[in-house]
């Protein structure tokens, strides 16, 4: 485990932000198409933080009832995507998709997570000239109260948190996506961002 804190300078952050923007634009377009709705895009917030800081951030979600699902992605760039959607938004999603039972709603949230995660990370990987795959069992709904006990979170010492909002204004559906990457991936990412930067100068 590399305990030295990896930091990103402004240029690196800008590149990452822009790549996320592109990938996220792609993901949103797919979700929007499937949901037949229009999402307003926002500028992603990128932060490097320790697991404790992250859990503290997640803690804010505990104030209201939230669904939390995660999906892992594997490759040169590997990590985990976490998706938060509050109960109100989830219910609106159900209404929008004509879902009338809890199991189907859970399924729809997981599906939404899957679409967002895979299209977001796949496009991001593509922009960085690599590939990622996804494994099925890693998509799950975790109760927030058990979050701090999550074994997967303990694999990380520090994480890049890319915080983007999914916001379907008209349907009143909004959620928050966190892309969490592991230590080794952060080194790889930093290298890759600099390759992209150099190619432009």
């Amino acid at each position: 485990m590399n305990l030295e804190k990896i930091t990103f300078n402004d240029d690196e952050k800008d590149v990452l932000q822009e790549l996320i923007n592109i990938a996220y634009g792609n993901a949103t377009a797919i979700v929007a198409d499937i949901l037949d709705a229009f999402a307003s895009l926002s500028v992603p917030i990128i932060e490097v933080m320790t697991i404790n800081e992250l859990l503290f951030k997640f803690n804010n979600f505990k104030h209201s009832s939230y669904f939390f699902s995660t999906q892992a992605f594997i490759g040169d760039f590997s990590g985990e995507c976490a998706f938060f959607i509050n109960e109100e938004s989830a219910n609106n999603l159900a209404k929008h998709l004509d879902i009338d039972n809890v199991a189907d709603l859970d399924d729809a949230i997981l599906e939404l997570t899957n679409i967002l995660t895979s299209s977001l990370t796949m496009r991001l990987a593509q922009e960085m000239h690599t590939e990622v795959t996804y494994s099925l069992p890693n998509i799950s709904k975790i109760p927030l109260s058990e979050l701090s006990n999550s074994k997967t979170l303990q694999y990380y010492s520090q994480v890049i948190v890319i915080d983007t909002k999914l916001n379907f204004k008209e349907q009143h559906i909004d959620g928050q996506i966190f892309i969490l990457t592991k230590d080794g991936s952060m080194q790889w990412l930093k290298k890759q961002l600099n390759i992209i930067l150099k190619s432009l100068i």
């Binding site: 499937i34 199991a103 399924d107 997981l110 895979s118 996804y134 099925l136 799950s140 709904k141």
Partner: protein
């Protein structure tokens, strides 16, 4: 060359087909209209449907539990985003209904399934569905969930219990080194200390506890022997208030029965201590009053014999001066004086007995008790012109604290005498009936002083309750009840009509 490649391709597809046929998962190919294009051996075996029978049929026609809308959405999504979409067993349970045949306890009658929908061909809109059996996992998961619910319930109960203890019970924990390790909220609130001020401090060095040397030694002894110990102590809390605590020292053990310290359960007994002190004061006061009355009575009782003796002495002097004093007269005078002194001495003994605390249980004839009781009210008897009527069997005997019983009867007599004072009643009567009933003696003391009003009859045994003149303490009946119940193991009750008041004392014949 071309032939070789073709052969190679054939081999690969042959291998792939063999794998697909034998893999421990269901594999089927669907288009976006849910038509079946492939159906592997695993599916054939589990559904008892042959591939050739299902090809080109819609999967939802074969299995009508399938939600067409959701499956179509997932297939279209997979084709669109070109990555797999999923059903997970923990939300969807299963896609294709397959009855569980395994012997053993399963929570599910149908196989729980994870399903991956993998995009195959965007043009032909084909996807592969890979179905894996997750029943065991789901079973474990369900069992775990059930247990979690049980554990959580227990946990919540424990937490609730602990909160109640924390809020209600005065508890201080100390470790083996007698350092305070915890204190309940209730204790902190009462003592006005913060946790920081108490924790880490030595139990004994905490000077506010103010233990006497003897108590401290006793506590140390019980701490050393790890034995339960109860004690009381007085302490001064932060705002200089004085508090009494009753403490139970209980050794504390961890789950491995290892001794880890002590729990001190405290009981705030300040209020009852104050009440006790108050009651002691009340009793003392009543005894003072009674004593004052006694002294008055002694004075009264002594006056006549003293003047008798005085006149004897005057006569002796007179006879001596006149020279008529003879031996016979002196002898008589001596006898008279001796008898009078004996009478005075008995009187003193009787009065002293009345106050004697260290009394023994003695067997006495009950009429004797009545006679003795009358001595204490003789002075009133003459002035008030009250007739005492007794219906007491001469052989009726009782084993009890004699003086205490006299005290009770005197109190009741006085109460009746006082009742007469306020009213003009001819033929004032106090009747005392005593009868034996099983192992009890029933004593009725009845006066005809006009009775007690209904609304106040319940209160006559309360302290300071008095309907009579202001200089009375109002403690007579209260004290009587206390003595009867606490010392004589009996009961006392009152009934009244508008003429008579009947006080009934029921006492065991043998105390």
């Amino acid at each position: 060359m071309a032939q070789e490649t073709a052969k190679h391709n054939f081999e690969i597809s042959d291998i792939t087909q063999k794998i697909i046929a034998n893999i421990d998962s269901g594999v089927l190919v669907l288009d976006d209209e849910l038509n079946i294009h492939s159906f592997n051996k695993w599916l054939e075996l589990h559904t008892s449907l042959k591939e050739e029978k299902v090809l080109n049929k819609k999967i939802n026609d074969l299995f009508n539990n399938i939600n067409v809308k959701i499956l179509t959405r997932k297939i279209k999504t997979a084709l669109k985003i070109q990555t797999p979409t999923y059903y997970t067993s923990n939300t969807s349970k299963y896609l294709i209904p397959i009855q569980n045949n395994q012997i053993g306890t399963s929570k599910y009658s149908f196989m729980q399934q994870d399903v991956s929908i993998i995009p195959l061909c965007d043009v032909k809109k084909l996807v592969a569905l890979i179905i894996t059996n997750k029943t065991n996992m789901a079973n474990t998961h369900a069992l775990l969930k059930e247990n979690i619910v049980v554990v959580e319930k227990l946990h919540n109960e424990v937490i609730k219990e602990r909160e109640i203890i924390d809020r209600r019970v005065l508890l201080v924990k100390i470790n083996k080194e007698l350092i305070i390790t915890d204190a309940s909220k209730a204790y902190l609130k009462l003592s006005n200390y913060t946790k920081d001020q108490l924790l880490g401090k030595s139990f004994f060095s905490f000077k506010k506890y103010n233990f006497s040397k003897k108590l401290k030694e006793e506590i140390i002894h019980h701490i050393k022997t790890q034995s339960l110990f109860k004690f009381e102590y007085k302490t001064i809390i932060k705002n200089a208030e004085e508090l009494w605590f009753k403490v139970t020292l209980v050794p504390e053990y961890d789950i491995n029965d290892k001794h880890i310290g002590f729990l001190l359960f405290k009981n705030n007994i300040t209020a009852s201590k104050e009440l006790q002190t108050h009651q002691e004061q009340v009793i003392l006061n009543s005894r003072f009053t009674a004593m004052e009355e006694m002294i008055n009575m002694i004075a009264h009782q002594w006056r006549q014999p003293l003047s008798q003796m005085s006149s004897i002495f005057i006569n002796i002097k007179l006879k001596k001066d006149l020279g008529t004093l003879d031996a016979q007269y002196l002898d008589n005078a001596h006898n008279d004086i001796y008898n009078t002194i004996q009478y005075l001495s008995t009187l003193i003994d009787d009065f002293r007995g009345y106050f004697n605390e260290d009394e023994y249980i003695t067997e006495v004839a009950f009429h004797n008790i009545f006679e003795k009781s009358k001595i204490f009210i003789q002075s009133n008897q003459k002035i008030d012109k009250i007739t005492y009527i007794q219906n007491i069997d001469k052989d009726l005997k009782i084993s009890t604290y004699k003086n205490k019983l006299i005290h009770v009867i005197v109190n009741i007599f006085k109460n009746s005498i006082d009742a007469f004072k306020d009213k003009k009643i001819k033929n004032k009567k106090i009747t005392i009936n005593a009868t034996k009933e099983n192992n009890y003696i029933l004593i009725h003391i009845i006066d005809n002083a006009g009775g007690i009003k209904k609304d106040i009859i319940k209160k006559v045994f309360e302290p300071y309750f008095s309907t009579k003149s202001k200089n009375r303490t109002g403690l007579g009946l209260y004290m009587s009840k206390k003595i009867v119940q606490e010392n004589l193991n009996g009961t006392i009750s009152v009934t009244s009509n508008n003429e008579n008041t009947d006080l009934l004392i029921k006492l065991p014949l043998q105390l």
